[in-house]
Symmetry: C2
Subunit: 226 residues, 2 copies
């Protein structure tokens, strides 16, 4: 068990204040002596350090440390490509146990959203290829797009959430608020409604929300007409 394993275990155990102090000391040591930790270890330290800062609700500071982690990941990817070409399967095993780069990007976007830097949050999430987007990334992106008035992109992202999680009712409300037809939304949840007993109320629930938002449009139309 090396020192990084100790930091990782403490992070997993929820000892955030301890992780913050220890990782901070290791990062200072690493800056003074770059040979001390491998690029992969430095990436891990930066992520655990940023997680501890995020837990302390210092979102600006956390976003900064997560961004440093991403920079470090780039260095790491370059060096591991060189290593892979010369021959180690061990590099892949190591890469698998590293904190996910996608998760780091999501955390940065979460910091930006809390700091009300919506454009920056969209920019970070937009940089994640569609097929790598998890449901929570699509959900955050959909909400940000809707807030920014990019309705078509918002609809696409909400639909993607629903495709992966057919009972994501907040995504359903999102779609209905963007004037997607109740029948279309209902059709996307039909399979799960039919496969689970006692869920028939859900189609009525969708109809009700569709009616609320249709009401909005109707009122809007009436106010325009008068």
């Amino acid at each position: 068990m090396n020192v990084i394993d100790h930091v990782r275990d403490m992070a997993a155990a929820g000892l955030h204040s301890n992780v913050r102090i220890l990782s901070s000391l290791f990062l200072t040591m690493s800056n003074n002596n770059p040979e001390l930790f491998s690029p992969a270890q430095k990436y891990q330290l930066l992520v655990y350090h940023a997680d501890a800062i995020f837990h302390d609700k210092e979102y600006r500071n956390a976003a900064c440390k997560y961004s440093m982690a991403l920079q470090q990941k780039k260095v790491l990817s370059k060096t591991s490509k060189v290593r892979t070409s010369t021959g180690g399967a061990s590099t892949n095993i190591q890469a698998q146990s590293l904190p996910s780069e996608i998760e780091v990007k999501y955390k940065i976007a979460e910091c930006y959203t809390i700091l009300k830097l919506d454009k920056d949050a969209i920019a970070v999430l937009d940089g994640i290829p569609s097929r790598q987007r998890t449901p929570k990334i699509n959900m955050m992106l959909a909400n940000l797009y809707r807030k920014a008035g990019q309705e078509r992109s918002a609809v696409t992202s909400y639909k993607e959430v629903l495709r992966q999680c057919p009972l994501a009712l907040d995504a359903i409300i999102g779609l209905l608020s963007l004037s997607v037809k109740g029948a279309e939304v209902a059709s996307m949840t039909m399979d799960v409604i039919q496969s689970i007993p006692n869920l028939d109320w859900l189609s009525v629930w969708i109809k009700a929300y569709a009616f609320i938002h249709a009401g909005d449009n109707q009122r809007e139309w009436m106010s325009m007409a008068t």
Copy 2:
């Protein structure tokens, strides 16, 4: 896959806003028709619902829902005892996959700490038997005891953290601030310092902090003498 599995998967995927709406609807249904969900399912719904509320930073509301979950867990323990005596091994399997009661108590204490209800937080954590306390529970308890002036209990809890995680530097600072001797604290981390290379600075770091706090005491003593 039943509806509770859907809620659990969405919670694990980080779709908090969706979990909040769906679990809230299911809990209303369950109140209107108590036969709809088993006691175990209702416990799960309450925990997932409370987690979503906690994520929304509504700590008072979350603490209330977590407490309802604990009440539900008591009902569940009673009924499962009856069932076990009549015969099902399946009850145990089910119990294993349920959200941890200890974790729920920790969450309640976290809510109370954020709400500055320190006495209530201590009361909840004190109710967890010592051998079931995880490092983060001991750490939170130690900080709360120290703040409340219960120094002996604080020392015991910090030492417990250090026993489980010998590199918990915040626990070390806690002990030194409570006038535990530097040499005693250092002896508790000696094994890990000796087993890991490049960690010899840690004993100097402990000495430095011991000196800082000894300085505090000396100043205090001097101000009392004058």
